[in-house]
Symmetry: C2
Subunit: 398 residues, 2 copies
């Protein structure tokens, strides 16, 4: 049999994340690579309890669900969002298989081959993969510590007439940075004036460190919402509850939601309704906000530990910024170092990270790397950083 | 904001199934429409027990999983398939969000706009929707009680050089028919000789009625398998365990599986690993074969009841064939009747079905309808058929 694959196949390039997840299966490797939450902080008892409540509802719980997702969970999320100052109804919301699927479904209904999508530099690699698979043309916008550079954004909007601008403004993957309010407002204004749809990806927004009074309002919340909004917002329970329940949601203008639901019907009919029902019961009978508070503090401790260890190394020419939330440190090494090469040495020494090049839409910076600080425990982080230091010794000039 | 949707959007036409699922939410309507299994036969205790075993494994159960799916479940399915005479390994298998997702992922990696897919006449409407969304050109092959007409298939292969042939050979949706062995072999031979990939969709194969000695081997099992096979086979737990766990699987040449996994990584990273782990524990600690045996008998009773009721109506000019398995009766009414029109009357009278036109890739036959017999109980089926009879009275000429 001579297989005749589609032209699209070439866009699904060999995947760093998949190989990483395989690496982390080996017990001997300490992995700072995957964007994994800390298993020891999963609310196992609450999940178990929620599941029992679902099963107590009777056999109907195991039947097919709606494509849009389990209505009571959509209602719970709406109430939760309202407490955060964002007013939406279940008709403005679609439940997805993680926020990854929200990115895929929106791209499916919005992007034709050749359409331009503007992205941060660097940005989430699996979003790039989705955009490429639909034939989008990807252009990076200059990005600094405050967020997207507004001048460069304005110039590129003028030059490329993008259909979409993809951003992770709060504790970005991979850089961990949080955009300033001015940049959020500025990007919103430019996109609104030019009919460019903003896809705001917010998996990490709840994982905020430091002063509780400092807030990072979503771009969605700064726009009119949801009807006529130029922002499509997506988030997930993967980082606040647990990834195995594989549930994300997307909020947008109800027409966009309706179209995404139709695309989802073709894609998989609906996501696991057992997971959705379990999350509904969990939201109703468990103090999720208190749990998130607890997880924030634990993650901040881990971030602080890794920051201290990075400080202690005194690696010449290595730069990073302390993240204000999320899951990642982003390191910039001396220009001559290719971190993809370095990874081989590192894995031999028993430590893994993600080489930064995969996070660029174009002209990758090969001297960068992403380190996750949420998954590895205290002892492991010490050992892992020690191994990373050994790997770096071989390439750093002192 | 002026939204600029993709050209693809037009292919996600208004969806019968979604409207149907909404209809069935109204308690007053007896629905023969949705392809829903009987809730009262869901193995609730076994699911609960399996979930407890998963949670007893510890926190890691709630972590991210592999894109390919939970390895122990893939191994369990392989053992199960081996008992049915099909030898595959976990590398030849991908777990999906229902078999619907398998159809989507294969189309994504195999079909370019303009490629031809041959389908049965009629066939599963949500597969048609997926194919259309990727720009495939759909051509129907004549189909009779034995399966695809081999002469017509040969002619259309010659004329259209199709990349793919989509079939549901065992207890088809919507017609309920089972192909003869000769047709299975004939289609396989023609496709192999002409490099046309067969997508064999088999959600209903386990729901077999009548003589246990009569078997319907999958086309996949008749081919070399899996390496180099010209068949991609997909099935699901939705009809044998329960739909809410939303787990299907696909078996194929390992290269095809590898490419589908990459596409899945972009689509949703992975399906619910909590559901997959639960199904693994269920397969290991529950007699699934005995359960399927039980469900078969119950569904056969329901089929028999509906066959008797159909017989009693003596509707002039209405034809159907008794299904040998699966979930559906397919009715052909006198040529002048449009069942989409009839549905409005029927719903007013409190009964629903699926008008047949949506199941055709081209030149729909408007005088057809699909009736599900698995979901409604004994009393409900009597009442529903009585209401359907009332609806038909108004349009049938006696």
């Amino acid at each position: 049999m001579n297989y005749r694959f589609s032209a699209r196949l070439g866009t699904f390039s060999s995947s760093a994340v998949r190989e990483i997840l395989k690496l982390t299966q080996k017990k001997s490797v300490i992995s700072f690579a995957g964007g994994l939450p800390a298993e020891e902080h999963f609310p196992v008892a609450a999940v178990r309890n929620a599941f029992e409540r679902v099963m107590a509802e009777g056999n109907k719980a195991l039947q097919y669900g709606l494509t849009e997702g389990y209505l009571p969970l959509r209602e719970s999320i709406c109430r939760w969002m309202t407490r955060k100052g964002v007013s939406v109804t279940p008709d403005d919301m679609l439940l997805t298989t993680g926020s990854q699927q929200a990115i895929d479904l929106l791209t499916r209904i919005y992007i034709d081959p050749g359409d331009v999508i503007l992205v941060e530099r660097p940005t989430y690699l699996s979003a790039l993969q989705v955009f490429r698979s639909y034939g989008a043309s990807l252009i990076s916008v200059k990005t600094d510590a405050e967020g997207m550079d507004l001048e460069d954004l304005a110039a590129k909007i003028k030059q490329y007439r993008p259909k979409m601008v993809y951003v992770i403004p709060t504790f970005s993957n991979p850089t961990g940075k949080a955009w300033s309010l001015d940049r959020r407002k500025g990007v919103l204004k430019l996109c609104r004036e030019n009919d460019a749809l903003i896809l705001e990806d917010d998996p990490y927004g709840e994982l905020k460190f430091g002063d509780a009074a400092v807030t990072y309002p979503s771009i969605f919340s700064l726009d009119q919402h949801p009807a006529g909004s130029c922002v499509v917002y997506t988030s997930t329970f993967s980082k606040t509850v647990a990834p195995a329940l594989r549930t994300g949601w997307v909020m947008a203008d109800p027409d966009i939601i309706r179209h995404m639901a139709r695309a989802k019907q073709a894609a998989d009919l609906h996501s696991s309704s057992l997971d959705q029902q379990t999350l509904y019961q969990l939201m109703e009978h468990f103090d999720l906000d208190a749990h998130i508070s607890f997880v924030r503090k634990e993650y901040e401790k881990r971030m602080r530990q890794m920051a201290d260890l990075l400080e202690q190394q005194q690696w010449p020419g290595v730069k990073w910024t302390e993240p204000k939330g999320g899951m990642f440190f982003w390191l910039e090494l001396p220009a001559q170092i290719d971190t993809a090469e370095l990874l081989k040495t590192a894995v031999d020494l028993g430590v893994a990270f993600v080489p930064g090049a995969t996070f660029y839409a174009e002209n990758p910076q090969h001297n960068t790397m992403r380190l996750n600080f949420t998954h590895t425990d205290f002892e492991g982080t010490i050992t892992g950083m020690c191994r990373l230091s050994q790997a770096l010794e071989s390439v750093l000039v002192r």
